[in-house]
Each structure stands twice: as structure tokens, then as C-alpha cells.
Amino acid sequence: MQYIFDGTYNGFLCCVFEYFEYKDSNVQLQVEGDDATQTFLFDSDKSIITDLVKAKRVQTGLQKHLGKSIAMDFFRVFLSEDRKAWAASFNIICQIFSGKTNILGNYGSEEVLYFKQTLKKVSRERHRMKAFIRFSRSSDGMFFAVIEPDFNVLPLITTFFKNRYADQKWLIYDVKRKYGLLYDKENVMEVKLSPEEKHALTTDTVITLDEKDEHFQNLWKRYYQSTNIEARRNMKLHLQYVPKRYWKYLVEKQV
């Protein structure tokens, strides 16, 4: 039986609710709009309607069984956008609610291992975004950054940037997922940009940079070069730490 849901985390939690309400067997998750949905549509498939009340109940249940921070892991894994990890999460949650609360310690199980590995990947990407985000300062004092992370980690870094840069306005925009976070020195809000605004952000042509921004970018590049020890050159290690896909947005990697 396929559950077709809207691809949101709340929708995902509602699938769990549905499973325990109807005890369907052999449940597979599908996202509305995913390619496979059309080809394998059967009469028995269910369209799951996202209901915030139900989602909340499942989340609260998870917190009760696992504690707040481990319950969060399911949200983190969900942000991987990896369908196989979602399937593993679904099965694990179902087992937890069936009484196997300590199942997450079973690294011998393929599903748990995959869940944990995905969790680690997401955490690594979250950490990388804390490190690799580079702000530019526009002439009106806004610090903005463009990112293209492997996973949808913006929700996981909000608090970090809010705490750290409390006295400056900032905007971090995920071009891959087409949304950003804007901080106005008080609150963080999600923003979607119009195509023109997006263009402005990614091309540097429309937003006027602060007159000193280029100066500091150059100084940073200079520092980056000077702090390297040529006699210890180790590009393999370098690429392992700073994979090429991140270079596009790293000031020090621009020639």
C-alpha cells in the first residue's frame, strides 16, 4: 500500500498516524509530484492529508518515547530529502511506537545504520554551512550570503546565526531550494524571492556592495594565501575538507 503525502515533515508524521489508525500492511511512502507516483498509482493507494493536529500528536509521542533531542533526529534526517532515509525513518518510528523504544541503538540493522549515516551526513552539512557561509555587505548594511547545500539544512542553522550576528541584518538564501532566511535584528523569517531579486543576489550586478566589501574580500584572500605552508602541501586532504562543489561561494577560492 502506498501513502502519498505532500513531502512536508508534518505530512510525513501524518503517514505514521495513518499507519497506526488503519494498520495497513506493507506501507510505502510516496511524495506527490515525484515521478514514480504516476506510474504506480493503484486503487488501494492512499492520499494522506496533512493535518497539523495529528502531526503534533505523533511528534509529542516521539518526544515522550525518546526525549526532545533524539526526537529531533527524525526531523534532521527528513531534511536530507533522501527517500530511502525517509522510508527507514518511517519504519523505525513505527517500531518505536510498537514498543521497541531502544531500536535506534541497533547498528546491526540495515535501516538503523542507514538512518544514523544519513543523520551524520545532515549534521556534517549543517556544520559545513556554519563554516562556509560567506557574507557580503551591501551598501545599506545588509549582510547577505548565497548557499547551495546538499541537504535542506537552513532550518538547522537559524539559531546559530541569530545568536552570533545579533546586531547585524542578514539574509541567507538557498538557491537550490529557492527560499531564504532573513534576520532583521529581532526575528528570523522565511523569505521567497522574486526572480528579479534572486538574480540580483546571485550575480552581484544589482545589489550595490558596501564600498569596503571588496577591500575586505581581497584582504581575506591575501590572508588565506599567506597562511598556507607550501612545504606541507597536501591537496588530497584539502579537497577532502573543502570539496570542490563548495568553492563557488567561498571568497578565498575565487581567483
Binding site: 540493522s109 562556509f132 599567506s226 588530497k236 571568497v251
Partner: protein, 418 residues
């Protein structure tokens, strides 16, 4: 080149031989303005030598009254000299920090005039950052040996970490290359700061709002391969310093030849001892996190670490009587002694075996180095072999299958001859 750019080039270049870059261990909070310290530390980028860039690591000046042979800023060395103003350092730090380039500032300096004069100038930068810019990010400050206790004490209230470098692992080695220096002038301030840290900690148990004093603790660095100390001597010194001064880290820095005049030092152009440096760090980790005693790894009979295999494997090969270890029954402390099994994998094994006895295919996937580990552990489905294989055979088998960093390093050296 603009003047500030040139200064940055000179003073970053002079500071880069200090390997410490960690920004961890502090929990300084943002009080509404700018910056905080991330307890786990963040590496914002990596240089092409694979080292982390976490802090803006610069010297205030590379003018120095000392003439230490191993140091690029030594008095007799013919290099361009420069000095930042207090304002320049503050401006660089704040602008880099606000753009998320760095986690904070690592500030050191050549000694000009005298220790107090230098320390006082460093203090002015630190205070301006904290008090005027309301900056709460990470600051690592070099303690200037010989500076007055009042100055050091005051500095401790504003910075996250302090460090003084031992430079050479032994006093004898140090005297060879830096006759004007001695280990005592390093130990004294390390001990003083350690005492202060403890006093503030004791006080904070009684009084609620005790100020933080060097919350990320102290560290030191030793240069490896410039002078002829053995690995045993080096690690003995490290152990003593960890014990006596409760250091957070001891750094080992493979000497990079930069002196053409001193015949005692390795010649310019010879390769820095990177593999040896790596082995020392591995030993350091075994002592701090794997519950090893130093004499198990290094002792008078075995004074140097093997370069072709890691120290845990080396220990295991010399002590076959402890193996194989059954991962389904052994306790955590035994499991972390299996070569190729780290602390995280050991935790996974302990947790997972509650669900049933673990087989090889399961532990393989948990992230252990199976090529090494398989000779030293027993899983549920490991066939029973009569007699024990010779450890020499085990070593050869491991080395044959293990063509990673050890072999590439060797071929690198050979290729560079042509």
C-alpha cells in the same frame, strides 16, 4: 600592494608556523551585540596544506629582540618587518568576523623592547575588541614569557585561550637553537595561569557571577625534528605538561626548514617530518582518550614510533597475548584497544550487541578499519583458527592491503628527487 595588505601578508606568514588553530572549548555567549564561541569550534576553511583556518592568526609585529635559530622572525633573519596598529587588528578582526570568514582572533607577537611592553600592547587590542566593539567571539592570546603577573592576570579575564610554546621538547634541544631561552620561563606563566583558572573555578562554585578566566584553557607547542629528541622524550615532556598544567592540547609541529645559516638544523629544502608528526598526534590521542599508558607505546626498549604503522597497531603486534578480543563479550576498554576500532565504533558495537550477536558483515559497516581490525577481533561468525598467526605475517598482510597515506608519502619523497 596596499600597505595594510602587505602587513597582513608579512604578519600572517610569520604566524603560520604556530599550528594551533582550534577555536573550541569556550562557551562565551553573545550578550546582544556581536559574536559567541562555539563549544566544538568551527574550521571556516582549509589551506592547501590541509590545515584548518579557524582564527585570524597574526603577529602584532615580527620585530623581535630574540635570535632563535628555528624562528622565521629571529633578529638576524633578513626578512621584511612590519607592525600592525591596534586599530588595524581590531578592524580586520571585526570585518572578517562579521562576514563569517573566521571564528576569532589568534594574536601573537615578536618581542619588541621587552615582555611587558609587548604584552601591554596585545592587551590593548583584546580590550578594545571586548569593551568597545562588544565582541564575544573567540580570542586566543599568546602569553609573552617574562610579562608581569598583573598583565597576564588581566589578559585572562578577556581571552578564551592562552598558550606559550615550549619550542623544543627538551631544555638541551632548546639551548642548542635558542640560547637566550629556557623551559623555566614557559613553565612559570603556565603554572600561574593554571592556578588562576582553578581559583576562579573554585570561586564560581560559591559566587554566582564570577567572571570567566581563560575558559578554553591553555595549550603549548613543540617543534619536532629540528633537534634530535626521541619520540619517547617528546611524549614524556607532553605527558608531564598535560599532568602538571592541565593543558587542553599539546601541539606537535614538524619543523619546516627556514634557516640557511645554522648547520645544526635540517637543511632548507628537506621535507618536514609529516608522518612522524601524525604518529605523535596518534600517540597523544591514545594517551588521552584510549586509556593507554605511555610506557605501553614508548619505552626505553622502543624509543621511536614506527612510521609505517600507527602506534596502536604497533602496540598490538608487540602484545599478541591480549588478542583476539571477542567484540560480543569484551568491555569497552578492551574493544577500543583493537587496531582499527575507534571510540565511536566501539560505542556502536556495545549498543548493538544487545540486539543479538554481531557478525563480521555488520561490524564492517559500522565504520571500523576492517583490514586492520580483523586480525585482532572475533565476531559471531569468525572461523576458529588453531594456533596464532605470527605477528610479522599479520603486519605484512596489513601493509600489503593498506596502500593509503603511508605508501603515497614514501613515493612522494622518492619522486621529489627527480
Amino acid at each position: 600592494m596596499e600597505r595594510i595588505e602587505e602587513k597582513l601578508k608579512i604578519l600572517a606568514d610569520a604566524a603560520k608556523y604556530d599550528v594551533s588553530c582550534s577555536s573550541s572549548g569556550s562557551k562565551r555567549k553573545n550578550t546582544g551585540r556581536i559574536g559567541d564561541a562555539s563549544a566544538s569550534g568551527i574550521c571556516h576553511t582549509y589551506t592547501e596544506d590541509g590545515r584548518c583556518v579557524s582564527l585570524l592568526k597574526i603577529l602584532l609585529t615580527n620585530h623581535c629582540i630574540y635570535d632563535c635559530a628555528f624562528c622565521v622572525s629571529r633578529r638576524s633573519n633578513d626578512v621584511k618587518r612590519a607592525a600592525f596598529t591596534v586599530e588595524e587588528v581590531v578592524e580586520l578582526t571585526m570585518n572578517f568576523y562579521r562576514r563569517n570568514y573566521i571564528e576569532g582572533l589568534f594574536l601573537s607577537s615578536g618581542i619588541f623592547k621587552n615582555a611587558d611592553f609587548t604584552m601591554e600592547r596585545l592587551m590593548r587590542i583584546v580590550k578594545k575588541l571586548r569593551l568597545e566593539e562588544k565582541y564575544n567571539g573567540y580570542i586566543h592570546l599568546k602569553t609573552i614569557p617574562g610579562a608581569s603577573e598583573e598583565l597576564i592576570k588581566e589578559a585572562g579575564l578577556y581571552v578564551d585561550r592562552m598558550s606559550i610554546n615550549l619550542e623544543m621538547p627538551t631544555e638541551v634541544g632548546l639551548k642548542m637553537v635558542a640560547p637566550e631561552k629556557d623551559h623555566e620561563s614557559v613553565k612559570k606563566p603556565l603554572a600561574f595561569v593554571q592556578n588562576q583558572i582553578q581559583e576562579y573555578k573554585a570561586e564560581s562554585k560559591l559566587i554566582k557571577h564570577t567572571p570567566q578566566f581563560v575558559p578554553a584553557g591553555q595549550s603549548t607547542q613543540m617543534v619536532i625534528g629540528a633537534t634530535p629528541e626521541t619520540d619517547l622524550e617528546i611524549m614524556n615532556v607532553a605527558k608531564t605538561f598535560y599532568n602538571d598544567f592541565k593543558l587542553k592540547r599539546v601541539y606537535y609541529s614538524g619543523y619546516i626548514p627556514i634557516n640557511t645559516e645554522n648547520s645544526l638544523l635540517p637543511q632548507v629544502g628537506s621535507r618536514p617530518p609529516l608522518v612522524r608528526e601524525n604518529r605523535l598526534y596518534q600517540t597523544d590521542w591514545l594517551l588521552r582518550f584510549y586509556d593507554f599508558n605511555l610506557d605501553e607505546i614508548l619505552n626505553p626498549k622502543h624509543q621511536q614510533l614506527d612510521l609505517d604503522i600507527d602506534p596502536k597497531l604497533s602496540w598490538a603486534l608487540r602484545n599478541p597475548q591480549y588478542f583476539p578480543i571477542d567484540i560480543n563479550t569484551a568491555d569497552y576498554k578492551q574493544i577500543i584497544r583493537i587496531p582499527g576500532v575507534g571510540r565511536q565504533s566501539a560505542m556502536k558495537i556495545i549498543q548493538s550487541r544487545k540486539f543479538g550477536r554481531l557478525s563480521e558483515y555488520q561490524v564492517k559497516k559500522m565504520g571500523i578499519a576492517f583490514n586492520r581490525a580483523r586480525h585482532f577481533m572475533r565476531c559471531a561468525d569468525t572461523p576458529i583458527i588453531l594456533g596464532t598467526p605470527s605477528m610479522e605475517y599479520v603486519k605484512q598482510t596489513i601493509l600489503q592491503r593498506n596502500s593509503t597515506k603511508y605508501l603515497t608519502t614514501v613515493s612522494d619523497t622518492q619522486l621529489s628527487l627527480f
